[in-house]
């Protein structure tokens, strides 16, 4: 299963990952991206490529 790491310091809460993820894994909580239900992640890495602040890293 994929592991999604979000650097809360780099994240500015723009919400691009929320829009990008086809599996609707991300949510904005207190203006920071949070990954919920990671178990559905299909490892497409759209969030990682789309993040303008390089705050997301998908490994798996």
């Amino acid at each position: 299963m994929a592991d999604i790491q979000i650097d809360k310091q780099l994240c500015d809460g723009c919400g691009d990952c929320v829009k990008a993820c086809p599996m609707e894994i991300f949510l904005l909580k207190e203006e920071k991206a949070t990954a919920i239900n990671v178990e559905t992640c299909m490892d497409c890495e759209l969030c990682e490529v789309g993040c303008p602040n390089l705050a997301i890293k998908v490994t798996g």
């Binding site: 691009d16 990008a20 086809p22 299909m42 497409c44 759209l46 490529v49």
Partner: protein
């Protein structure tokens, strides 16, 4: 909550699950429009992959229409036997059989028509714009009598499909073919019974469905529709939901298979890898809300998890996996069994379609078996007469695929990879910032897992030399050493402000504000990535195509990061360049992206000299000009890596060459050459 493994009824036919393999042109039918062994075998191979419904590609309903040179025909009673074979193949595989009825209208290529017919394309009106496909011959408007004759053709085709044993028919009303040409104000300029307002523009499909129903009775008639045309002057999703969908349902359409687009823009019809997964599913979701019959959704769904989610969320009833079913015939079976990581995911390279348009058999870049007869199936491969120790030099896609197939045949394979990771050049090509090419890694991940599972020995950080080969004494050596970058001989090319494309992508070398990319055909992705720097992300297709071209520029978000990018390209126009995935489609889309990102593209230029802050070149008219620059990225191409080959020649060692080290080519070449050699060793 519906599950993907649930059955579903289309009129009176029950599908065993919600997975559907939609029609895609294979271009392997004989000139006489009769399906041959290759198509029947490849259809059977797909049908036994666990699909609920399998559809046979665009069968032409009349002799006088043809877009692709070799398509299935359903216009003559003598063709029923070949059609029966296809339906039988699908039923033997355990799926329900459907056939797509197709009339190209204005998109017909008159040059392909039989010589005894008039070489012309027909359309609703004389003023209908010509086909977006070359040779783009202006069509002729249909007369009232001709329209009724075409409706008769549709009805007779449906009767033949029923007699041949198909469970249902699919009327092709999307991708800009004839029924859609009648629906759309862009192509239908008539002012009579068949055009003028929405009510009259849907009259054609209404008559087709009504007459067909009278003839076939209680038999499912499905329609493949375009939810949105993404075209100025065409219809939108709102128009479709309001005027077209209800009329079609009323006339007896039993299922809506929702696609989108016309061939004026390629990317809606066959979304390439730059588009997100599941990109057009929102259209099916919207249409599902206005009709009461089953709806299928599709659009770059290449992961089983996404397919399952779409159905469980109730977005639509059936999920269509087009190119995904080409890349892995067993997609459906593996999805239902939950073996998502075992699926060989489509990389959306569009090689299959590029082959169609180039009049070659439509082959899959990563699935060697597709579109071939069953003698090529892995299950039928003969075991090796003698199990050999095979040394593969290079762990790119070619090397890994060879290791996989050779191991299946009983050889013992060792892969030696110079770098610290498997994947070869695809690791570089998939790492473009701000442009989604990550799909290319699908095949690397899949093959990597197979290497582990099959017990192939992988030695990373191991460079193979001639001495090493002599010491290990393998029975056969396979060179998959790939290609290396070409650095042209230009004064100043070794300056500190010059970096190569690989250095930019893999080592992330810093780039100044003013950038020149040398070589647009090969460096276009990098130019797009740099052009997008400091700007807001571009709209996805659907928002973009409803904007006039002039307003498609990107909004600046961070002025400090914005780069001034210039592409200097020797060729003209920079249409076909080398790339590991696609050629035609890549360039149609990348040229749009370059314009949108504000990248300056200069073609037909010759670079003379690079200095510390400028590049001097001859422009297309032969005058000398300079462009100010902080960083130059060299991207002129790649050349085969032949070092070990030259040493091995004449040493009396059995060796083969596969992939880029013969000639830098697409992933397709790597995988296919690996398969040929692996079957030969």
């Amino acid at each position: 909550m519906a599950k993907i493994s649930d059955s579903i009824k289309i009129r009176n036919v029950e599908l065993k699950n919600r997975l559907y393999a939609p029609p895609m042109i294979s271009n392997i039918v004989g000139e006489n429009c009769l399906a041959g062994k290759a198509l029947i075998d490849t259809t059977y191979r797909r049908a036994r992959g666990g699909w609920g419904l399998v559809c046979v590609e665009g069968a032409v309903i009349s002799e006088s229409t043809r877009l692709f040179p070799r398509t299935v025909g359903i216009f003559d009673d003598n063709q029923e036997l070949a059609l029966f074979e296809l339906a039988d193949a699908i039923h033997s595989g355990g799926a329900k059989a459907m056939i797509q009825l197709h009339h190209a209208g204005r998109q017909c290529n008159p040059l392909l028509l039989p010589k005894h017919l008039k070489q012309e394309a027909v359309a609703p009106s004389d003023t209908t714009p010509p086909s977006p496909f070359p040779p783009s011959i202006a069509p002729r408007g249909l007369t009232e009598a001709e329209i009724w004759a075409i409706i008769d053709d549709y009805v007779n085709a449906a009767l033949r499909a029923k007699r041949a044993g198909f469970d249902m028919v699919l009327v092709h009303c999307s991708h800009g073919f004839l029924p859609q040409q009648f629906m759309s104000p862009y192509t239908n300029h008539r002012n009579d019974k068949w055009g003028g307002d929405w009510e009259k523009r849907v009259e054609f499909i209404r008559q087709v469905l009504t007459k067909m129903r009278e003839a076939v009775g209680d038999y499912p008639i499905c329609c493949r529709v375009a939810g949105d045309e993404f075209l100025e002057g065409g219809y939108t999703l709102e128009d479709f939901c309001k005027y077209i969908a209800p009329a079609m349902e009323q006339a007896g359409c039993d299922m809506f298979d929702v696609t989108c687009g016309v061939w004026e823009h390629f990317s809606p019809v066959v979304p390439e890898m730059y588009e997100p997964r599941g990109v057009w599913t929102y259209l099916a979701e919207a249409i599902k809300k206005v009709v009461n019959v089953p709806v299928t959704g599709l659009g770059r769904i290449n992961d089983g998890r996404l397919a399952v989610k779409m159905i469980e969320d109730g977005k639509f009833d059936i999920v269509g996996i087009g190119r995904g079913s080409i890349a892995d015939s067993d997609f459906a079976k593996k999805t239902i069994e939950g073996r998502y990581d075992d699926i060989r995911q489509c990389i959306a390279c569009n090689t299959c379609l590029e082959d169609d348009l180039s009049n070659r058999p439509s082959r899959c870049a990563i699935n060697f078996e597709y579109d071939r007869d069953n003698t090529w199936e892995e299950e039928r491969m003969p075991a090796a007469r003698k199990s050999k120790n095979v040394l593969v030099v290079g762990g790119g896609p070619a090397g890994m695929e060879l290791a996989r197939v050779a191991t299946l045949r009983g050889h013992k394979v060792v892969i030696c990879e110079k770098s610290g990771k498997l994947g070869g050049y695809l690791n570089v090509a998939s790492s473009i910032p701000k442009l989604y090419t990550r799909e290319l890694l699908n095949i690397v991940k899949w093959l990597g897992k197979k290497m582990d599972a099959m017990g192939v020995t992988v030695e990373l950080n191991t460079e193979v030399t001639l001495d090493m080969i002599k010491e290990r004494k393998p029975d056969a050596v396979v060179l998959a050493t790939g290609a290396c970058e070409v650095i042209p001989d230009i004064p100043g090319i070794d300056g500190p402000n010059v970096i190569s494309l690989d250095e930019f992508l893999t080592k992330k070398k810093p780039v100044g504000r003013r950038v020149v990319v040398l070589g647009g055909a090969y460096g276009a992705e990098a130019a797009v990535a740099l052009g997008r720097e400091g700007k807001k992300a571009p709209d996805s297709g659907y928002k973009k195509y409803h904007k006039p071209a002039a307003e498609r520029g990107l909004e600046v978000a961070d002025p400090e990061k914005v780069k001034e990018v210039t592409v200097l390209e020797e060729g003209n126009p920079m249409v076909v360049g080398w790339s590991p995935y696609s050629q035609i489609f890549r360039f149609i889309v990348l040229n749009e992206f370059l314009a949108e990102a504000g990248v300056k593209v200069l073609s037909q230029v010759k670079v003379l000299e690079i200095s510390a802050n400028a590049v001097k070149y001859l422009n297309s008219t032969g005058q000398e000009e300079t462009v100010a620059v902080d960083t130059v990225i060299v991207a002129v191409g790649r050349a085969p890596n032949k070092m070990l080959y030259q040493e091995l020649v004449g040493q009396g060692i059995e060796f083969y060459e596969i992939g880029d080290c013969t000639r830098p080519e697409k992933v397709e070449r790597a995988i296919h050459s690996a398969n040929h050699v692996a079957r030969q060793i």
